[in-house]
């Protein structure tokens, strides 16, 4: 049988659950978050899309240390300078971030909670845009922001005892906090953004449909996707290696 020479990406069979979470992910980008408004979240997403074209970031990536290259980022002009630095570093050179750098961002006025939510927004737009790229779909126009104010609820149980940022252990969540652990698990990767628990839910609600649910990852008796476990892990390993992520 002759192989097709091309295909229409709009007709690819996206699993219903994945399609649902993708749409929910786009909506969550536009909604008010815990610390940022919908407009601010979308401004972060827009700057994240702009970051790969920044000349300063390109020079820094080529340098042995990004901290030896001075200059100004090429930005969209919406976010202030510390936030532009944060967005560009997370997008272009996250593997060389340091605790000292993070402290300097906080000294420049970015609250720890805002920083954590920013990571969540960048992770979401990265996942959503990469998925479309992977299928050959055009990059989506960012949605319009949804009205509403951030609730600014910091979990009372947050402690800086694991990471550079405060996190909330599962046993320290209160009834008032969104609970991502019961649904998604409580490994360190789930705790990473737990200072803003809704961001953990936002990301992993999508991620379990992109990848696998926690209990599916090591269930080698069943295949949950069109790709086998071995194929999934080979591809995941290669992507992680290219990103310098060995977590």
């Amino acid at each position: 049988m002759t192989q097709p020479a091309s295909f229409d990406p709009t007709t690819l069979p996206v699993r219903h659950a994945l399609a649902h979470e993708i749409e929910r992910g786009w909506r969550r980008l536009a909604e008010p978050g815990t610390w940022w408004t919908g407009s601010q979240r979308l401004a972060i997403a827009a700057e994240a899309r702009n970051a790969p074209f920044c000349g300063l970031c390109q020079r820094r990536r080529a340098a042995l240390s990004p901290y030896t290259v001075a200059g100004e980022h090429v930005s969209l002009g919406i976010l202030d300078a510390p936030m532009v630095e944060i967005v560009h570093r997370l997008v272009n050179d996250a593997g060389r971030l340091t605790r000292t750098w993070l402290q300097s961002m906080q000294d420049a006025g970015v609250a720890e909670e805002q920083y954590v939510e920013t990571i969540g927004v960048i992770a979401m737009i990265t996942a959503l845009d990469t998925f479309d790229l992977g299928l050959g779909l055009p990059q989506r126009t960012l949605p319009a922001p949804l009205a509403g104010a951030p609730n600014r609820q910091r979990p009372a149980g947050a402690r800086r005892d694991l990471a550079w940022v405060a996190t909330v252990a599962p046993e320290h969540l209160s009834a008032a906090d969104p609970d991502p652990y019961t649904i998604h698990g409580n490994k360190n990767i789930h705790r990473a953004l737990s200072l803003v628990p809704q961001e953990v839910l936002n990301f992993f609600d999508l991620d379990v449909e992109l990848y696998l649910k926690d209990h599916e990852i090591r269930d080698f008796e069943h295949e949950y996707r069109a790709l086998t476990h071995a194929q999934i892990e080979l591809l995941a390993g290669r992507v992680s290696s290219l990103n310098g992520c060995f977590y």
Binding site: F7, P9, G134, G136, I189, A236
Partner: protein, 102 residues
């Protein structure tokens, strides 16, 4: 693991491993032509549903690294112990430069 690190997908005995590794590399490092060729190769070799899965996996792992790198979370003790030999053989520890350092 070595194949994932050095991109030799054909060496590991995973069906269509080379095609998938090339796909991952093309999505992260390739130009438009290389990406288009890689998508078509996955589509032809594995089918449309597998292409969707491949796009999803690349999306997931391209994003989740931001959580780890941005927050500075450490590797769990049990993972560190379980992978000690593997990490030594592959020289992975030498690549973790950022966490906790200035």
């Amino acid at each position: 693991m070595g194949a994932a690190l050095n991109g030799d997908g054909a060496a590991v005995g995973v069906a269509h491993g080379a095609t998938l590794v090339e796909y991952g590399e093309a999505m992260l490092r390739g130009d438009a032509r290389r990406r288009a060729a890689a998508r078509l190769a996955v589509y032809q070799a594995l089918g449309p549903a597998a292409l969707v899965d491949a796009a999803a996996i690349v999306a997931s792992f391209n994003a989740v690294v931001k959580l780890a790198d941005g927050s500075g979370i450490p590797l769990e003790d049990f993972k560190e112990k379980a992978t000690q030999t593997l990490r030594a053989e592959l020289g992975l520890d030498g690549l973790n430069q950022g966490a906790g350092t200035s």
